[in-house]
Amino acid sequence: MQYERQEAGQSAHQDVVLFVRNIKKQISGKTIINDITFEVRAGEIFGFLGPNGAGKTTTIRMLVDLIKPSSGEILICGEDIGRHPEAALRHVGCIVENPEAYSYLTGWENLEHFARMQRGIDNARIREVAAIVGLDARIHDKVRTYSLGMRQRLGIAQALLGQPKLLILDEPTNGLDPKGIKELREFVRMLADQGMSLFISSHLLSEIQMMCDRVAIISRGKVLAVGTVDELIHGADNYVVWQFEQPEAGRRLLAGEGDVELVLEHEHRIDESLLAGMKEALITAMNPDRISALVEKAVRAGIGIVSVHSIAPTLEQLFLRMTEGESIE
């Protein structure tokens, strides 16, 4: 009976696992979330980007019924979270902010605790998720003795217990070392390959870029853009950085080209660390296809070339362009 109802609900929204429309939230008179709309499809990794204070965590809390939206609609697998939280949350596993666990219980007891809150999770499943996150060796130790990385794994194990269709991770890379981040990325990809949808928030755009199929960019409680990473990058400036043996002659050469735009030092949006150690670099906005022709021209003019870098646009650049002129409150 229940199964049929669920089927009907799903067919109405095709393969949309999470459907968010026009949600708003006011807290004590202040509008924190101002109209957020997006959807997450089955089997995709969806990135949720925004600077600190943009409303990421508030939105996530609304997705999992920790906060009630002032208006708007949230459907998880076709179930309204406000009206049927029990039915909707059955499909969700989540970690909101830090992975929390009862430190006076063992990892196993924590998993058992959360397993009792859902139907049909037996000890075999607990063993299985402990093995999936690679925690089986320490599972019977008190959580008090766990490192941050292990708590993170325990949190993910807990979220996976009920075999959710949607896994929500809030800033999952926080506090992880580069190796941990790489492992997390592979893990997330593995889950998505098994058909699970993942919703990942972050303020570190480079990580999302490497992890996600589609992203929503939010700022000040509003969605600025939703799309695939490629689509969003397409509109961004493409930078080429030049280093000449005779910088002045080089500058004159590039300035003479109609389709090359010289970018001033303080106007570009390239990560400073990329430019470190590049003396008197000239930054241009141009089509990278023109590089070889220009190199040839410079050589013919007797201008020695030290290096040419084509810098792939990052979501950072994109993000900065979209949130341009916005002051941090």
Partner: protein
């Protein structure tokens, strides 16, 4: 109900694993021997001074009567002394020792002294961090994002709390009897205790007074203690829902309980103070026939007041917990 049992199991397990109940047992194991020893010394001194407990009672009565003639004693005291004299006289007339040195009597007196402060304190150790502790540790976010309605979670916490409060009352009585019995003797179950004193102004009406065996008295006493302990537990649960930090929740409840104790001893002329819950906690006094802190209070009155506080706490706890936004 089938879905609730695992939740209750969760909450019971968490309180147990937090070792809260061990702390309570440890406190009892420390305090009871101390009081038992004090009682033992009193008994020994009395034995030295009085060959017979009757002589001791006669002396106590005459001491009380002497203070009654003094002008410096406030009227309140005089009235309670007058009542005490009449009660002691009743025991003397019926040839029953009200302070017989044995394990059961000690337990009875210890429990009735513990009801206003000691039991509330133990209850707070269990109840104060039930919800605020989950908020402090952040685990409330895990708890409330599982596919379980919020009221079920709070209800399971309430059931677990009730279990532990009941257990605390029982374990206190049992430990008290076992420890004090070792020094004072394990008898006294059948000793008659008088109850049913009806206080009318400054005189005691003994028309309804009857003797009941001490075991029955102890049972009634434990029941009343359970009622006042549960009221404190419900209030503490509410405060735990409303106040985010555990420390804040403990301090709020301790202040409420202690202020009630202070008020009981000074608020006899402020009549509306009798509606404050903590003034009504000393339910066992009605059984023993001691004068109530404020005239006009009776067992029925106090039970109704405590029930009102309990119900209000439950309504507030559930309506806030099921609706509030979890922001931190």
């Amino acid at each position: 109900m089938n879905r609730l049992l695992p939740l209750i199991q969760n909450e019971t397990l968490k309180i147990w694993k937090k070792k809260r109940f061990f702390v309570i047992v440890l406190v009892l194991l420390t305090l009871i021997p101390i009081f038992t020893y004090a009682q033992l010394r009193i008994t020994e001194t009395n034995k030295k001074n009085f060959k017979d407990w009757r002589n001791q009672l006669v002396q106590q009565i005459s001491e009380y009567q002497n203070t009654l003639s003094s002008d410096r004693i406030p009227d309140e005291w005089k009235r309670s002394r007058q009542i005490a004299v009449q009660q002691l006289q009743y025991y003397l007339d019926h040839d029953v020792n009200p302070n017989s040195p044995d394990g059961v009597t000690f337990t009875r007196i210890f429990l009735s002294n513990a009801v206003t402060l000691f039991f509330p304190l133990l209850v707070l150790a269990l109840a104060s961090d039930l919800v605020s502790g989950e908020r402090t540790s952040g685990t409330i976010k895990m708890l409330l994002t599982r596919p379980v309605r919020r009221w079920k979670i709070l209800f399971s916490k309430l059931v677990a709390l009730s279990l532990y409060v009941s257990l605390t009352v029982v374990v206190s009585a049992v430990l008290c009897y076992l420890i004090s019995g070792a020094l004072l003797g394990y008898n006294g179950w059948g000793m008659p205790v008088f109850t049913g004193f009806f206080i009318n102004g400054s005189s005691v009406e003994s028309g309804l007074v009857h003797a009941i065996p001490q075991w029955l008295y102890l049972l009634m006493e434990a029941g009343l203690i359970w009622v006042s302990a549960m009221t404190v537990a419900l209030l503490a649960l509410m405060v735990s829902v409303l106040v985010r930090s555990t420390a804040g929740s403990i301090v709020t409840m301790m202040a409420a309980v202690i202020s009630g104790t202070i008020l009981s001893s000074m608020a006899s002329s402020w009549h509306s103070a009798k509606f404050i819950f903590s003034v009504n906690l000393q339910l066992t006094d009605y059984l023993a026939g001691s004068p109530p802190p404020i005239t006009g209070m009776s067992l029925g009155f106090s039970l109704v007041i405590l029930a009102c506080w309990g119900i209000i706490s439950l309504v507030v706890s559930f309506s806030v917990f099921t609706r509030q936004d979890i922001l931190n």
